[in-house]
């Protein structure tokens, strides 16, 4: 069984695409449709090794989710990268300040995404 990666995106298609890329590389993908579900997934599953999250999502956006997750000491070491169509420096700065460790602008390159996940979960 591969390492578990949480993919948070309100688009089922994006979750599927990320899941396919990581699944074929041996990772096990857990999905969440918004920030709230993402926080619940992380709180309820200690086996999650990394989080890949969209920024623009209903209910709770990705940046809010990163802040909520990182508030808990037990999640301080959990790597979170943002996967979004947005690329504004101010947002990237905001994500970094919240505790995210990386930022990828869609459309993503599956090979690069896999390599990044392998690096951050090694």
């Amino acid at each position: 069984m591969g390492k578990q990666i949480l993919v948070v995106d309100d688009s089922a298609a994006v979750r599927q695409q990320v899941g396919m890329a990581l699944g074929h590389a041996g990772f096990e993908v857990v999905e969440a449709a918004d920030g709230n579900e993402g926080v619940s997934a992380v709180d309820g599953n200690p086996n999650i090794a990394m989080v890949i999250s969209d920024v623009n999502m209903p209910n709770m956006n990705g940046l809010e989710m990163v802040s909520a997750i990182k508030q808990k000491p037990s999640h301080q070491a959990l790597p979170i990268i943002m996967l979004t169509t947005e690329g504004q420096p101010a947002l990237i700065k905001q994500a970094k300040a919240a505790g995210a460790v990386g930022w990828i602008v869609k459309p993503f390159d599956a090979g690069q995404l896999v390599a990044t996940v392998q690096k951050l979960t090694a």
Binding site: A12, A13, Q17, N56, P58, E86, P107, A110, G111
Partner: protein
């Protein structure tokens, strides 16, 4: 189909003032409002139904309209919207009922959002289907390559086991054959020695017969005759023993002469078998290398398929940008609505779009900002 304002200024186009803001993605947005006769009552001069009628399925809607409508070719929505601003302003200057205009705009905006949601749902559904197909292709390719490899390995292993078994049996048989020949040679030597002993016995019997003959002559008479008979019998027996022993010796000699040839044949067969075993081991090595090459080729093909699927995945990610571009339409309408409200001194116009989330934050305000961010699509930025 035409909007009412297009009747007033056909072909006018004005995109100024329609700069949209960069939007966030959607939550279930403003639902399209129900159509009804009341809507068209606001368009007394309209010759055909409103172009803003919601369609259950965008593609289906197009086909139906193209197939059955007798109206002139429909003006693209983008052109209609581009015409909207100036035309509405002109219309507003003569509009007797601002509240009606406000309602129309709300309906218009609701229908636009409905279309956006329909497009989003359709693209989501189709993208998921395509993604599933791509995934199936990769999985099936991987399974096919693995199954081919397993079948090839099993066949090779079975054949190898059978051949090894036959070769071992042949080798053992030849070994036993060789041992048997060696044993036969040893036994023939023993028989030859026994034959020499028999020859000696035959000689002694002949000597006894001679002595009996001499004794018969010395005694003479009846006693001599009896010795003569014994002497004759002993002589014949000696001759028979010698004759039989000679025959045995000749047979043994023939066997001894044939055994080395048989031994030679056995050795030659053994050498051929060793050569064959060597050839089989070489063939096994060649097939093993071929299998490795085949595995490598299969893995290369699988990697190519995987890379192609990754490439397809990249192309499938058109949905977010497409939806965001569509959502800009809503913001155009909102700006227009706001402008209209300001001009008509109406309250409650240009409410915040449900598409907007982060889009009202300063960071999301300008497309220009986004383009100068320096972060390229696909680029991985690790902090």
């Amino acid at each position: 189909m035409k909007f009412f304002w297009q009747k007033r200024k056909k072909g006018s186009s004005n995109r100024d003032g329609f700069e949209g803001t960069t939007l966030g993605k959607t939550s279930p947005g403003i639902p399209p409002e129900e159509d009804g006769p009341a809507q068209d009552s606001h368009f007394p001069n309209a010759a055909s139904p409103s172009p803003l009628e919601p369609a259950g399925h965008p593609l289906e809607s197009n086909v139906t309209e193209k197939g059955t409508s007798t109206d002139p070719p429909e003006v693209p929505l983008s052109h209609q919207m581009a015409n909207t601003g100036e035309s509405v302003r002109e219309k507003c200057s003569v509009c007797d009922d601002p509240e009606t205009l406000k309602t129309l705009f709300s309906q218009f905006r609701g229908k636009i959002n409905g279309q956006i949601h329909a497009a989003q749902e359709l693209s989501e559904k189709e993208t998921l289907s395509i993604g599933k197909c791509i995934d199936d292709i990769v999985v099936h390719a991987r399974d096919y390559i693995q199954e081919s490899k397993d079948v090839f390995e099993k066949n090779f292993s079975d054949q190898n086991t059978a051949l090894e078994g036959y070769l071992n049996f042949s080798k053992n048989t030849l070994g036993k054959q060789s041992d048997t020949v060696k044993t036969a040679l040893t036994l023939s030597d023993d028989i030859s020695e026994a034959g020499e002993a028999v020859d000696r016995l035959a000689g002694e019997a002949k000597l006894l017969a001679l002595n009996a003959t001499i004794e018969a002559a010395r005694l003479g008479g009846t006693s001599g005759n009896a010795f003569g008979v014994i002497s004759e019998e002993m002589n014949q027996l000696s001759n028979q023993i010698a004759s039989t022993n000679r025959m045995i010796g000749e047979t043994i000699q023939a066997i001894r002469e044939s055994l080395p040839a048989l031994m030679k044949q056995t050795n030659e067969q053994n050498e051929k078998l060793e050569e064959f075993i060597g050839a089989m081991h070489h063939l096994k090595k060649v097939i093993g290398e071929s299998m490795s090459n085949s595995d490598a080729a299969g893995n290369t093909h699988l990697e190519m398929i995987l890379n192609l699927s990754y490439s397809a995945l990249s192309h499938l990610q058109f949905q977010d940008p497409m939806i965001q571009n569509l959502q800009k339409i809503d913001h155009v309408i909102r700006d227009l609505h706001k402008d209209l409200g300001t001009r008509l001194h109406l309250e409650g116009t240009a409410e915040k779009s449900e598409f907007s989330q982060l889009s009202d934050q300063p960071e999301f305000k300008s497309e220009k900002d986004k383009n100068t961010s320096g972060q390229n699509p696909g680029e991985v930025l690790l902090f």
